[in-house]
Assembly symmetry: C2
């Protein structure tokens, strides 16, 4: 066998520790299966006095990330964030060293810059761990689907929010109680903003849109709505109507070449293959011309699943270095200089909940305004069974309207007018509905 490949790891939190554990304890298995010899050169962490679930041998420890870059053939960046992490990645690429990362934030914000460094210094960055934890979403998109035109990606890409939404439904509890529970179980961070506001899912779908459609998305152009305002009532009413509420990350190619990239709470019918992806699990559905629908589902976070993805990338790069003396990517896809034009408006079905006084003419006036804006109504629901879902007896009754597909700009204009009607007591609730039939 050829000389060992030296792998250096920067960042030794839970994922970093799991990567070290797997590389050290599975060394023999990896040698036998993949026929590569992988050696950890150095592991950098700020604080080595902290107790970890796997003890990193003392001779591998350092606090200086530059020492890691210096001593390695492959650099693994697992610090996260966009500060030091960026320096590590940039410095490694400039030295033509391949980089493995799980840092979605960095890729979503600085993908273009990283891609140009890759090109300039003829090396590569791999990032399976950045999207969907251990689920091989990036590999499938880059390698399996390479000959396919992808029309649509629907993903449940954030385990924290999926856990919260599942708990709200199962245990009949509001958002803030479910969030607390998630925090207690370690599924949500003390500061859960990135997760619950949809930012984490948006980072991930930005990366996938790039790979699928071949160009960069400006992160600030992605429409992002989190789950902090989700009302338990809508989860329950939606379920009665045959829908489950999921925080969906969506990327779609429009005929004109524009792409829709968005993250928001979304109703999907029970028949949608993603509707049974529950709890902390992630799931993704690719639609493409030759393969049709392909769904992947599994552990979207957690130290070991994410480490599995990182180790997959390490082995692939090490194998290339061993067999070929250089690195290449089967398909780089979006890692070019192109930009994707993100659609400002989008086209969807909608669930609208109006809390209205129960008096004559209400439906007439709402329907009139919707008609004026060209919004076509697919269904109306205001029936007695709705009352049983209300927390307490009320004179204000929910009126549910399901629309056909419409541009959201038009819908928003209609809603502005509707808000002025005296019998509408609260700002209407708008939830997008992804109702392709499967």
């Amino acid at each position: 066998m050829a000389r060992p490949i030296r792998v250096g790891i920067v960042g030794c939190g839970t994922v970093g520790t799991a990567v070290v554990e797997i590389l050290l304890t599975q060394k023999e298995r990896i040698r036998e299966k993949a026929e590569v010899e992988i050696e950890i050169s150095k592991v950098a962490a700020r604080n080595w006095s902290k107790k970890r679930f796997f003890e990193v041998p003392e001779n591998l420890r350092t606090t200086d990330w530059k020492e890691v870059v210096e001593s390695s053939d492959i650099v693994v960046e697992l610090i996260g964030g966009v500060d030091i992490a960026k320096d590590v990645v940039v410095e490694s690429l400039k030295r033509a060293k391949p980089v493995i990362t799980a840092n979605k934030h960095l890729l979503a914000e600085y993908g273009r810059e990283i891609a140009s460094l890759m090109k300039k210094f003829k090396t590569f960055l791999f990032f399976e761990g950045a999207v969907g934890g251990g689920i091989p979403i990036v590999k499938v998109l880059k390698e399996t689907l390479v000959s396919n035109q992808i029309s649509e990606i629907l993903g449940i890409l954030n385990g924290t929010t999926n856990y919260i939404l599942t708990k709200m439904e199962e245990e009949n509890i509001p958002f803030n109680v479910a969030l607390e529970e998630a925090q207690k179980k370690g599924y949500a961070e003390a500061n859960p903003t990135f997760d619950v506001e949809g930012v984490d899912a948006a980072h991930k779908i930005a990366i996938l849109a790039n790979l699928a459609f071949g160009g960069f998305v400006k992160f600030s152009e992605i429409f992002v709505e989190g789950i902090t305002n989700v009302d338990l009532l809508d989860i329950k009413l939606g379920k009665e109507l045959g829908y489950r509420l999921k925080l969906l990350a969506i990327a779609k190619k429009r005929n004109g070449g524009e792409v829709e990239v968005r993250v928001h709470p979304t109703f999907i019918p029970f028949e949608n293959p993603l509707s049974n992806v529950d709890g902390v699990f992630n799931g993704i559905l690719f639609k493409s011309n030759y393969l049709g629908e392909l769904k992947l589902q599994g552990a979207g976070a957690g130290a070991y699943p994410t480490a599995t993805a990182v180790v997959q990338d390490i082995i692939q790069a090490a194998k290339q270095l061993t067999c070929c003396g250089k690195i290449f990517d089967i398909t780089a896809l979006g890692w070019n200089d192109k930009s994707l034009k993100v659609a400002k408006d989008f086209y969807s079905r909608y669930y609208l909940r109006f809390d209205v006084e129960d008096k004559p003419g209400v439906l007439y006036q709402i329907a009139k305004i919707l008609a004026e804006e060209g919004i076509s109504i697919a269904g109306v629901l205001q029936q007695e069974w709705i009352l049983k879902f209300l927390p307490k007896p009320s004179k204000v009754i929910p009126l549910i309207i399901l629309t056909h597909k419409a541009y959201e700009s038009k819908l928003k204009r209609a809603l502005e007018k509707l808000e002025n009607l005296s019998f509408i007591k609260e700002k209407p609730t708008l939830i997008r509905v992804e109702e392709e039939k499967y």
Copy 2:
């Protein structure tokens, strides 16, 4: 860009035709995404007068497979079967040419011989299309899960039988009617033996067991039971009990090192992620130590999905030839000389249906014999609601017994004794239950 890679295709049925179509019509896309130049050298078919859905250019046509091997850098074998296909594969490997195939039959029967040729002539054979059509099952097993210990694979790997079982349940029809329907729709062949008897699924699980557990399985040692004897009554009773009936291909690693490899109709609880894989779709669940459960689901057959898998392999091989001048496999896993010891007995839960006369002492006697063999009963069902599932009023009533886990040899011994009891009117029905809770 480097010189074009010449790809030759032997066999131009539906999958072969779709591969030709994709390589020719997506040439530009593949060049842009993967940065490889792929050229079809020759396509061999026995009969060129047959009309195909994509017309193969005349200058590429030949009837001589040797001409294809001669003129190509990569040989794609898509004839199927184990006769000429084997000659094509052996001859190509002997000339150190990489081979892509979708031929599960050949791999399941001659995997060991093929592997030794690969080693001897320092080349590789890739076979994503052999298992699960367009679903990247082989890639995930070889590349993503390389650092994981796989404990279990559960797969719905045959679309024909899954379609038939789905239709039986949905339309309340017996096996032979559902089979006719599948044949009319082109989902089952005129001679459906390989599919309905479970042989096709067994070929596939043999390949996966090899990859997952690192050694060859003797095909004749695999326990295979098809769906031809499945009774609609059991599908319906099972559903009432919270189970769906699927033809499952199972590979499990036992603690002692033995493996269970088997294919048979299996009850799985609604909560099992595979229970909603319906119709012609395939699905697979991998259980492994670091990643936990990973599920893939998609088009398990069909010309274009399978062609997507074949083209994935072609591009990967072409990319390696272009960048590296040689072929390598990220992980070869099971492609060594080892043999797997296949467990002769296996360990499962069981659903038993006894058609009994409704008279005192029946349950006592059945329970006594089961107890004598150490079979522990998890549940008994003989209630009035069962009667509604019977095709016509009857004095013979189904008695359902669900057992705890037991060795099948013991159960079979008990069943032999039970068959002699006078009040048991038919050979008892035995269906294995895969009831890990998810």
